[in-house]
């Protein structure tokens, strides 16, 4: 365990401290924050992109303001936690420290099963029996795959004495071990689980060359954007941040009249970049534009280049930046609803409300060409 250091971050800002460290040690800058370290950018500093774990550890220590003070510990020799291959007959479950069994979860794992993606289940060993406290559904899946041996990472209860339990405040070792297994189960499944973010899932899909993700990524880059975890702090990047990867994929997958995906994502991002060349992609601007483009195609309407220029100029002159534009357009509908000054039915979802808002704005302020119909009409300005 590492302990707290109190003197390091008291005055210098974390960003400054990290920047100094990176400038001294690395040629290529990468983003380091408490929430994440951009490992893809960091890996550019290494041959073949292979980052020693020790370098990441040093960054974690710097950001968290901790240093390693514990004496060296060899768990293989000194630990009560060990690894074993065990038989099915040796495996047990104590419901005190395991959740109820879910056949659905078992089926979910089974349907996506791959031998190389088995995470080692955890157990508590007592009197030769292995009581599972994490990975029960994985084991049930391995059983249906007819495994004859099961990998287990276990706490060796036989190495713990009643005296150890008394010292921890428990009446006997069984009570202590049950508490330990239950607490570990909560630690792993509830408290310390870092969910894979949409951004990480997207980047992994691009890196493993999933065709549709690669295609979407190319569209982003061609339009001047790059998938990022956050919209700010990328002044050094030649691409503008695009943070809405799931919505991006949803729009990418809309097929045009030639049954091709990506057309509307491309058009809407080009519009965004052309209108606001220095702004991060704002979801409720580019997404409704993509919807308008798709609907126009379905209805046989043509949106020429002049449409995008006129609309962009109008949005900029009325609202300035894209965030303000989408905020004000949404507010205009809220005001219309509040004052009962609208016709038709207001849409439920923001992307469709913005779809209607932009169409209404264009019709009321420019009106040069025919656009798809807005489900709800109101006076936007």
């Amino acid at each position: 365990m590492a302990s707290k250091k109190n003197y390091m971050h008291t005055s210098t800002s974390l960003k400054r401290l990290v920047d100094q460290y990176i400038n001294n040690r690395f040629k290529i800058w990468f983003r380091v924050e408490k929430q994440f370290i951009d490992l893809r950018a960091m890996s550019l500093n290494y041959t073949n992109g292979e980052i020693p774990l020790d370098d990441i550890s040093k960054l974690h220590q710097l950001v968290n303001n901790i240093e390693i003070t514990d004496p060296p510990y060899d768990p293989e020799l000194e630990g009560i936690v060990q690894f074993a291959w065990v038989t099915w007959a040796e495996l047990y479950l104590n419901p005190v420290f395991q959740r109820d069994s879910s056949p659905n979860q078992h089926l979910k794992i089974k349907n996506d099963f791959e031998h190389t993606s088995v995470i080692v289940p955890c157990a508590l060993k007592l009197d030769g029996k292995y009581f599972i406290w994490d990975g029960h559904h994985t084991l049930q899946t391995l059983k249906t795959k007819n495994y004859t041996k099961y990998p287990i990472w276990f706490i060796d209860g036989d190495q713990i004495s009643d005296k150890d339990a008394y010292e921890k405040g428990f009446p006997d070792k069984i009570k202590y071990l049950i508490w330990l297994a239950g607490t570990n189960m909560k630690r792993i499944n509830l408290q310390n689980k870092l969910k894979l973010s949409n951004y990480d899932a997207y980047m992994i899909s691009v890196d493993i060359e999933d065709p549709k993700f690669v295609a979407m990524d190319r569209i982003l880059h061609n339009a001047g954007f790059e998938a990022k975890r956050k919209a700010t702090g990328y002044a050094k990047s030649k691409y503008l941040p695009f943070t809405q990867v799931n919505s991006g994929m949803e729009i990418y997958e809309i097929l045009d009249s030639n049954q091709m995906p990506g057309t509307y994502l491309k058009r809407s991002l080009e519009f965004h970049k052309q209108t606001w060349p220095n702004s991060a992609a704002v979801l409720e601007i580019w997404r409704p534009i993509a919807r308008i483009c798709a609907n126009a195609d379905i209805q046989g309407l043509t949106l020429d280049q002049q449409f995008f220029i006129d609309l962009g100029n109008e949005l900029k002159s009325l609202y300035g930046d894209p965030d303000t534009a989408q905020e004000r357009l949404k507010t205009s509908l809220q005001d219309a609803i509040k004052n009962h000054q609208f016709t038709g039915a207001p849409q439920d979802h923001d992307q469709w409300r913005m779809h209607d808002a932009i169409i209404n704005l264009y019709n009321q302020r420019i009106g040069k060409i025919v656009l798809p119909t807005a489900q709800c009409q109101w006076k936007v300005i």
Partner: protein, 137 residues
Amino acid sequence: MHMAFLYLMKNIMPNKPAACKIGITGFDKAKARLGQYQISYPLTDHCARFDYLWYGEADIIQRLERFLLKDTFASAIPFGGKGLTEWLDIDGEEARSSINNIINTTPFLVKQVDQTGITMYNIDTVIKNISSVKSYV
């Protein structure tokens, strides 16, 4: 419509490395804010002032300030902690130029106050002059 200022204050300490502070305040609170900054100095030594001001609707001013601190000037904030995170270690004129550049290129619908060196003695006039400009936004 709630209006607000983005202000820029230069470092008043002579012969010190470059530094300046940015912040925001509502029209209705700007004078009180100057009063707060005055508390640390006798008037005979220093009259608290906003060296440069920009104004606009409050939500846009807030958005602009957030962008400046999180993006444009993120690397120029030397210290962390209360009262420190709006201080930049760059010259006030350089910061002013960067702010104007961001306002023009993003763009943010805010305007710069022509007058410089705004104190508690002339801020009311500045606000009155802005309020009388009907064509704004």
